[in-house]
Every structure is written in structure tokens, then in C-alpha cells.
């Protein structure tokens, strides 16, 4: 047995004839921050979807804390301690900011339907605990003054932060961030990097993030995995990756070859 939090072994996903992820391996040790990079269409988000149970792999295993989680539904994966954000932000637009976060803690409540219908003392206690935790996270992410706004009315940057708050609600062990810095300006990216590091410290998180901005990857990741055409082509520290010839080739195209954008 290894001590890795997550081990992906030989993961393959084919959509019809298109192989989106091919024999992919990755190990993530607890407490680390790993970057997953690669050109557009390399299969990074598909890996996230495979880990979280949103799509079923064609073959391979995803072992989380020693248990193969392939075949579990997304909500079951979440309950084991893996949560994620989405590349294209998927908040509950018509719910308030506070409710967007509270909803993510719901399954931990032992107050059931009946308690809710009659507003029992137990229901009130649970609701108060959930609300307190949600407010704490919102203020950590600088959203405490927004709690009654509808999520769809927030500006873009705040929506990204709200999605992170929501993902942290259930005290995940592994956090998957899908392009958290997309669409941000350099100053915002800097603050985001600090935020990710402080959250990681505070909640003892292990993080896997997809990112295109090299500043983020090189700045905060301890380990980087590079994908191209569904395959893992390199793995190592940021410094090693920067000088890896296959990586440079994947991004810039073969010298003299037909670089397909």
C-alpha cells in the first residue's frame, strides 16, 4: 500500500472513435499541490470528469484513499471528500450566495424531511450550524457582504470565488480546480494564488488544478503533470517541466512540423 491520497491507474476514456484520455497515470500525495497542464483539447477536464464520476471511464482505476471509486456517482464521490469547480462556472444562479454555499453541506445534516416540515429544534440547530459554516467560508473568500444577492448577479471574479467557497463547504480532502484563473487580470491572478495557498494551509487540502496561466502553475505547484492528446507526456517539478523537450514540442509544435493549433 502506498500513502498516496489519489492514484489514477491506466485511465482510458473513448468517446466513440475519439480517445480523449489514454492510459493515464497520476499519483497525488496528501498535502501537495499538483498542476495538470496541456494544450487545449488534451483531455484535462475529461480527467476531472472521470475522477468525479461525471463520466464513466472505458477502463482503468481511480483509487482514492485506497478505494477504487470508479462507478460511483458524482454525489457519492463528493461525499468521500473530493470536490471540484468547473471551467465554465456552474453556480445555482437563482439561489442566493449564502444558499449556494449552504446547499453543498446538505447531506451532512441528520435533520430529515419531517424535521424540515415542522421546523423541529434539531432542524433549527443544524440549519444554524450550516449557516455559520457557510458565513465563515464566505468571509474567508471576501463575499460576506454579498450573501443575499442572487449568484447570477455577481461579477465574474466573485462567481469564481463563490464556486471555491461552495467546493470547500463539506471539508474536502482533495480539491479539483478547473482553470481558476481563467479570465482574470494579472493583479487578480496574484491574489488568487495567495488565496489558494492560504486555503490549502488552513483546511489541510490536497489540490489538483488545471491551468493555462503558467504564472500560476510555476508559482504555486509543487508537481506538474503534462497531457497531450489524452496521454501523460511528462511529470515533475515545475523547473523540470519547463525544460522538457516533449512539453515544449506539445505546446509549440515539432520544429518544422505541422503544428496544429
Amino acid at each position: 500500500m502506498t500513502n498516496n491520497l489519489l492514484e489514477i491507474k491506466g485511465l482510458t476514456k473513448a468517446f466513440g472513435g475519439l480517445v480523449a484520455v489514454k492510459d493515464f497515470f497520476l499519483q497525488i500525495a496528501p498535502g501537495t499541490l499538483t498542476g495538470l497542464i496541456g494544450p487545449n483539447g488534451a483531455g484535462k477536464t475529461t480527467v476531472f470528469n472521470l475522477i468525479t464520476g461525471m463520466i464513466m471511464p472505458t477502463s482503468g482505476a481511480v483509487v482514492f484513499q485506497g478505494r477504487d471509486i470508479v462507478g460511483l456517482k458524482p454525489f457519492q464521490v463528493y461525499r468521500l471528500g473530493i470536490s471540484r469547480t468547473f471551467q465554465n462556472i456552474r453556480l445555482f444562479g437563482e439561489l442566493s450566495v449564502l444558499d449556494n454555499v449552504r446547499v453543498a453541506y446538505h447531506y451532512r445534516s441528520d435533520a430529515g424531511l419531517f424535521d424540515a416540515l415542522v421546523r423541529s429544534p434539531r432542524f433549527r440547530d443544524r440549519e444554524r450550524e450550516i449557516t455559520e459554516r457557510a458565513r465563515e467560508l464566505l468571509s474567508l473568500l471576501g463575499l460576506e457582504l454579498r450573501e443575499r444577492e442572487l449568484a447570477k448577479n455577481l461579477p465574474y471574479g466573485e462567481q469564481r470565488r463563490l464556486e471555491i467557497a461552495r467546493a470547500l463547504m463539506a471539508e474536502p480532502k482533495l480539491l479539483l480546480l478547473d482553470e481558476p484563473a481563467a479570465g482574470m487580470n494579472p493583479a487578480e491572478v496574484g491574489r488568487l494564488m495567495e488565496l489558494i495557498l492560504s486555503l490549502k494551509e488552513r483546511f489541510k487540502l490536497t489540490i489538483l488544478l488545471i491551468e493555462h496561466q503558467m504564472k500560476v502553475v510555476m508559482g504555486i505547484c509543487q508537481q506538474v503533470a503534462v497531457m497531450d492528446f489524452g496521454e501523460l507526456i511528462a511529470e515533475g517539478t515545475p523547473a523540470e517541466i519547463q525544460n522538457n523537450s516533449r512539453v515544449i514540442e506539445a505546446y509549440l509544435g515539432r520544429p518544422g512540423g505541422a503544428g496544429v493549433a
Binding site: T45, N49, M54, I55, F86
Partner: protein
Amino acid sequence: MTYFLQQLINGLQLGFVYALIALGYTMVYGIVRLINFAHGDVFMVGAYLGFFAIASWRLPFPVAIVVAMVGCALLGVLIERLAYKPLRRAPRISSLITAIGVSLFLEYFTSLKFVFGPYFRAYPRPFAVRTYELAGITISNIQIIVFGVALVLMVALTLFVNRTKTGLAMRAVSFDHQTAALMGINVNNVISITFGIGAALAGAGGVLYGIAYPQINPFMGIMPGLKAFVAAVLGGIGIIPGAMLGAVIMGVVEKLTEVYISSTLRDAGAFAILIIVLLVRPSGLLGKKQKEKV
């Protein structure tokens, strides 16, 4: 066996009428994602236009069909412009409720005594009914007309959609309104044309229904409309051959349930098939599987 074949032909006759209605449903849904509940009532108006053309204005039968088609096309375009177009950016359910409103309005307005009146009317037949026997199976000239007219219209529609520039524009708009608009297509006109064509087909269906099942009233469009819509879904909504296939299946199943099981269970058979098909192939028999993008 001959009895079975006989009933199959009767089922096909019903299916062909459903197909003419189902085409309008499927085209409109394909282009604006709207379940146009008023479509069955346009079919009813078509039946009445044919009725007046034959009984009151003494027009020959082919002209009566044209009158019904043109009248319904105008009605379809009018409904689209007045009731649906202003809601194109509103939540989809708003257009659906409006469609229901238009449907109720057409039913109750035409029920008024100075319009069509609330009673049943016997449909005039512009010619004597003849039957031909072929290997023990009887086919009437009415059935031949229904098959003939429906087939001609379906072939014409298929050619129109696949071979003309307007047909190409319709297909483009059904994929993506904005991109189509960027390609220089007048999206509003294409949508109106789609409603017009769909309504014209339903109008022809109304006349055929009238001569085949010779009794009409202002509420006659509800059930055939629903069944035609279900047929469109069965075949894969938005897909023209799918609507034809689904409609034929609906008609045949309905007829066979009626004669082999029980006439009171007639409607249950077709709907049971619908539910089963949806569970096995949610996008219909000829529909493409759609996967949500994560």
C-alpha cells in the same frame, strides 16, 4: 391475415393524417424549441376551410385543399408574429403557455355561433365513395386520396428542405439562430416560413381527416394534435423522416389496439409505446443521442 392487412391499411390511413400534423410540430420544435399546442387547432381550422370550400363555395376538391393550405399558412404566420415572436427571448415556458392560450382561443372563438358554431357538422364528400377489392382487402378511393395527397406533400416537403436555399436556411437556423444570422440569413423570415409551411400541411391534413372521418367540430384538433405531437417525439423531434415514421407507428398501433384489444383502450397502447421508447431511446427512434457538456 387479410383482416390484419385490412386493419393495417386503416391504421396507415390514420397515420398519414397524423404525419401531416406531426411535420408541423417537428419543424417548429426543431427551429424554435416550442411545443406549439395551437397546431392541432390550426388543423381544425383547415378542416373547416375545406368544409366551406366544398359545401358553401362549391369549389372542386383539389382547390379546396389549396384553400385550406393557404388559409392555414396565413393563420400560422399570424399566430407566430403576434403571439410567439414577442416572447422569443422570454423563458420557454412563457411561449408554451401562450401556445396553450392560442389553442384555447381558437377552440372557443370558433365555437361562437357566428364563427363555426359549437356543433358537429357532417363533412361533405365531393365525390361518391368507391371501394376496390384487391386480394380480399378493400381500399376506398378516399384512402387512395389520403395516401396520395399525404405522400405528394411529404415528398415535396423533403425536397424543399433538402434542395432549396430556403430549406437550407431552415436547417441552419435550427442548428443555431445566431450563427445563421451571422451568415446573412433573415432568421425572422425563416421562422415565419417554417410556421407557414407547418400550418399549411396541417390544413391539408384537416381536409383529409374531414373526408376520411366525416364529422368535424371546433374541438376536433385536440386529440389528433396531441397524438401527432407524440408521434413527432416518438420519431425524434426536429427530424422530418422521424415525424413520418412516428406518425405511421402511432396510427397503426392505435388501430390495431382498437380492433384486437379493446376500442376503449385505443389511446393507451400508443402512449405506452411512447413511454417505453422514451425510456430506451430518450431522443426518439431516429433522434441523435445528446450528451450534456460538462
